[in-house]
Symmetry: C2
């Protein structure tokens, strides 16, 4: 029988241990260094790093375990102003909890991770261990908590909807076909139809889950699977209520990052954006004029979006800008038109630092409007029977939005490519790891 070891001390808690006390660390060997008169092991656990100091005679016969080996260190907490948190562990006994680790493809202990993107992605299980990589996902996870907390407080119900559907949600393109017990099914491109139906049940719903786009273009902004943060709620006056809630949600996400991800923000040197209480809003028609585009341009180009982002920053000190009123012809059939001019829509895109981050708006809510909108596309309302049932039986005015998690985090930390912030990204060329 082993004698009982003292309870594990996490790296960031080592600073609270009284010098002279026994202490047990567990984690990966982050770095080993053998100098002539002293050796060091830096141990990495889920909270951070801790330093272990060995005299030459304390180094095991085979030498120090290689980096990434998992160890248990039993030793004595000792004061050292140079060590992280003012403490280090001396007189250590080292027990290997894994086999000695093979050297990773990149040196994880170096402060910055210089690997090219394919190396990063091909070795994701290991490269995510790097402190700056881990910090990126820490910010993603804090964003998810902030999103849920804000909506839970506002009386929203979390839902979970089908990812296997019998037809393409919004358009026939860009769907992945699935062999569903011999029938053709598709992966859901969004929970749009389901979240709307559930507004009839719970009034206010959200869902965080994977959505799938068979995106044939290889860009820095598109993934074949991404995490969608979906919101839909009833009893709104217009898309402006949706935009106001979006602002509240984004501020809630940022507040949670600010309080829970202090170390990650500092490690990544991230300055959090300003989301004003009232998000500056410009009509699509006026946005075209401002960027000098023709009046009949149906969409904003990336250059236009950048110009508008700069204008919002200079004019309003805001990192976000809502462009409302996009032409109905460019929006999905369930979009609510602008009541005083039906060429425009009660919908918006939110630009975050000059890039489209969120699409939202008010939806149609009357059954007869849906039938007309579907027929105007030359389609049969029967193809949408299950969806239209909700409207036939009474639905409140409603709207919602969807935030792409990877785009949010990438823009926040100014990553050049969304693949840097997806744990195991999927795209046109990538189905592993």
């Amino acid at each position: 029988m082993r004698s009982p070891t003292p309870a594990r001390t996490l790296a960031t808690h080592l600073s609270e241990v009284v010098p002279g006390d026994d202490v047990t660390l567990m984690g990966h060997v982050h770095r080993r260094r053998e100098l002539a008169r002293v050796a060091f092991l830096i141990i990495r656990d889920r909270t951070g790093l801790a330093q272990v100091v060995l005299r030459p005679e304390e180094v095991p016969d085979g030498g120090l375990p290689p980096e990434e080996t998992v160890v248990r260190i039993s030793g004595i907490a000792s004061a050292n102003a140079q060590a992280p948190g003012g403490r280090e562990v001396t007189a250590p006994e080292i027990e290997l909890l894994s086999e000695p680790a093979r050297p990773p493809v990149v040196e994880l202990w170096r402060p910055s991770l210089e690997a090219a993107l394919p190396t990063l992605l091909d070795n994701a299980a290991v490269t995510w261990r790097h402190l700056t990589q881990r910090a990126k996902w820490d910010i993603a996870a804090a964003s998810l908590r902030g999103f849920r907390q804000t909506l839970d407080r506002a009386g929203f119900t979390e839902v979970q909807t089908p990812k296997l559907v019998d037809s393409a949600t919004e358009s026939g393109a860009n769907v992945f076909p699935v062999d569903f017990f011999g029938r053709e099914a598709f992966l859901a491109q969004s929970p749009q139809f389901y979240k709307q139906q559930l507004v009839g049940v719970f009034e206010r719903v959200y869902e965080i889950g994977p959505v799938f786009r068979a995106e044939p273009h290889d860009t820095v902004r598109h993934l074949a699977q991404y995490v969608s943060l979906d919101v839909e709620f009833g009893f709104i006056q217009s898309h402006r209520d949706v935009l106001a809630l979006l602002g509240e949600v984004l501020r809630g996400m940022l507040e949670n990052i600010r309080t829970e991800s202090v170390d990650s923000l500092s490690l990544l040197n991230v300055a959090l954006p300003v989301i004003p209480d009232e998000i500056p809003t410009i009509h699509f028609r006026d946005a075209l004029r401002r960027v000098g585009a023709p009046d009949d341009e149906p969409d904003l180009s990336p250059a236009h979006e950048r110009a508008l982002g700069n204008w919002a920053k200079e004019e309003f000190g805001s990192d976000v800008l809502a462009v409302e009123g996009y032409p109905m012809s460019k929006r999905p059939f369930y979009t609510h038109p602008q009541p005083d001019d039906e060429r425009w829509s009660n919908s918006f895109d939110l630009l975050f630092r000059g890039l489209e981050l969120v699409t939202g708006g008010q939806r149609l809510h009357r059954h007869s409007e849906y039938v007309a909108a579907i027929e105007a596309r030359g389609e049969s309302p029967e193809a949408y029977e299950a969806y239209l049932q909700a409207f036939a039986h009474g639905m409140p005015p409603h709207g919602g939005f969807a935030i792409g998690l990877e785009r949010w985090v990438a823009r926040l930390i100014e990553a050049a490519n969304v693949r840097e912030v997806a744990l195991f990204p999927r795209d046109l060329h990538r189905l592993t790891p």
Copy 2:
């Protein structure tokens, strides 16, 4: 311009309004009743029901709006000891927010929903509006929050992993093939491999998300897509640490239901189960003897599980029982054997009221053990290259478990079929609504 209406009052907040004050309700018409001398509208919103009383001359010319129509009611809060919460709304003005609703396939205002399961499922968008249906999902949503809160407090990181994978996670059977840009991919049966790899990064991870099983059997317990609550964590001694965490998580889920779903529990007449601080545990070998099965039986039958559930209730007053040590031959290759007898495993099933709810255990964590286990199955370790990378570069002893949300809720509320508690279930025969 309309004059500004007073802010909306939610149904359950009506009891707090001072009699005589103006009040605005918004919701679905739950029930309309016109009697000779008085008429009633019951309004349903996300919080509950509120009563509106009309004198005959206040009834609109066309009569009261039909059930499920969405309305805004402006009137006066009035005391009435017979009304829910001691208040009703009188002198109402009724504004229709939807078109008059078509009658639903079932009368949603009746206290109990007598529809057969196919009717319930075929009309899910509407039948979920019934108060007892809504209460079921309310308990599911409270379970999700309790799960996350417990794990967030314990230093876990939420992760989101790929649902599109290049090979079957645990076995070649029961996977849905996907056409992934012309290549064959599969829908993930579980996040097992990913959550393990991420233990090397974050030590403690959880994921709530859809998993997919091409289950060819039509049973009351199987769905083609279900919500899996997955946990994995490092630095454990054995599966007993995993079981202890599972107990903590289940108690956290129940505590959240108890505090947040008071009305739903009472509506469904649910008695919450007892999860003892230490979950009673029996070895598989002893479980076989207790139920009178032969020593070489490789698994427990449903009848065995029921008998063991009854025994746990009588003997320990517990609604749960862990059966540990299942034969290695019946467990997946990554299962850790029982150190003193390698025929058995360091894994368990948790029986909840005599039905299997959770599978969990300790996993292998040394690279050489994985290579041996995969070769022993006659497979090539190269097929698992990306997964095995994590182990080659050092992984702590670890384990985890997965809870199926629908099974949990169904068992909790004693629903006969998991389809009753999935919002839009998918199975062998069902791909819509």
